[in-house]
Structure formats: structure tokens, C-alpha cells
Point group: C2
Chain length 152, copies 2
Amino acid sequence: MSEPIFRRAEQADLPAIVAMLADDILGQQREDTRMPLATSYVHAFQAIQADPNQFLAVVELNGEVIGTLQISYMPGLSHQGAWRGEIESVRIAQSARGSGLGRKMILWAVEQCRARQCRIVQLTSDLKRVDAHRFYEHIGFTGSHKGYKMML
Amino acid sequence: MSEPIFRRAEQADLPAIVAMLADDILGQQREDTRMPLATSYVHAFQAIQADPNQFLAVVELNGEVIGTLQISYMPGLSHQGAWRGEIESVRIAQSARGSGLGRKMILWAVEQCRARQCRIVQLTSDLKRVDAHRFYEHIGFTGSHKGYKMML
């Protein structure tokens, strides 16, 4: 069995990442997978790569991209000046769901946060993703907060 | 009546900001207000100021700092490459609570996010802060997510 490889995303990974973002019960209404990809995705990718406090990761297995997530490292004053790592946009390709990859990805992301001296790791999950909630609680997260969004 | 002034925090504001972080039912156990301030606060402040995607704000009234919040601007691929603005560490001095300042601060932060072309504004609030939840819903946020934390 090959082991999945975790690495920083490259621009060539964009179509695979956007396809995963779209292949999701919530994401399918809000993404645009038409090729060539909308320039808004390319500009966002460039902004992520230019920011040393953003890490867009992909997981590769046998040359295929099967997962993605983004970590945002945020300095802050609270908790005596603790850095936070925020995990966003976690997606796994259909072919790899149910394989335990999600667990590996989140634990990997937590280790990245630890290596960057973060003292808090945080994420939010849509209230509709009940299975994800069980999963996050199982691996040691506490669902202590309510997450609010406003679309502009 | 003077109007509150919103501005970027300076290092001289740190004691007032840390005092507000600590003067809170949840924050009082996790902050250290002893002077001189722990260097961890100073280092965190310097990291915030050095990052163009972080904005630590204070609100000043008659020369006194009465409020603080931080905005983190995050590029991301989802929602067709939407920038997000995340509001963190919102605190108001005892003397200014119940004055409508919280509403002004959050609406001001939303306008900062709009000016930076964010299409999503997000924040999390501890489940214990029930009054804050009513407030966020009242000003147009949707409590659509569960917020998870892991302390490292």
C-alpha cells in the first residue's frame, strides 16, 4: 500500500482542488469548475502562496490529488499572545472517503500548527455536517463555540 | 458627546488591551496583566503589526481606550476564491458596556472587510456568551457553524 504524501499545493493542483471543493453537498452550489478556471481562483491561489501565514496543502496518493485543506496561522494577543492555527476548506475526493484519510489530514494539520508554536488550533464546521462533528470531537477538539458568518 | 475613534493599535495601547482581555468572565483565567507585560504579549503584538493581513484595532473615547478587536484577512479558494475577514478578540471596557459600542465596533469591522473586498465575514463566540449570540444574529450574522478548538 502506498502512503499518502502531504505537500504544499502548486498552481497545477488548482483544478483538482476546485473539483473537490465543488464535489460536496454544500460546495456544489457555490463553486465554478468550468475550465479554464475562473481567474478569481488563480488570484486567490497567488494570494495564499504570497502569504507566509497561509499554507494550502494537498494530499497525493499514487500521483493523484485526493485531499486538500488550508491552514491559516494567526498571531493574536489573547491567551497571553498565543498563535492560532485555523483549519479551513477540508475536502477529500469521493474515491478516498471512508478510508481514514480525514483523520490523518486533521492530525497532520495539528502537527503543522504545533511546529509553528501555535497554542490553539481552531476550525468551524457547518451545523449540517453532523458526521464531521462526531469526528472532530473524537480526535480531541471541543465544540465550545458557535460560528457566525455574514456574506457581503 | 464625543464620538469614538477607531484606529490601529500602537504598542503603547498594549496594557489597556490586555486589561480588557483579562476583564472578562472567560479571559480572566487565561491572561496575565502584571506589569511590565509578559514578553509573549509584546512578541504577539509585533507579529500582528508585521503582517499586512492582520489589523488590531482599538476604540478611543476622550483619550481612553475603551474597546478592541482584531481582524484577520484570509485569502482562500472556496466560494470561488473569496477573501474572508475573521473578527477575533472583541472586548469592551466595563465603563463602555451597554452603550451600543459593540454594535458600532462590529459594523465598523464589517466595513473594513468590505473595503478589503472580503465576501465573507466570520467569527466564533463561546457557547456560554448567550447575549453575544443574540447580538450577532440581530446585526445580520447567521449562526450556521459549530466552532471547535484544541489547545496544544
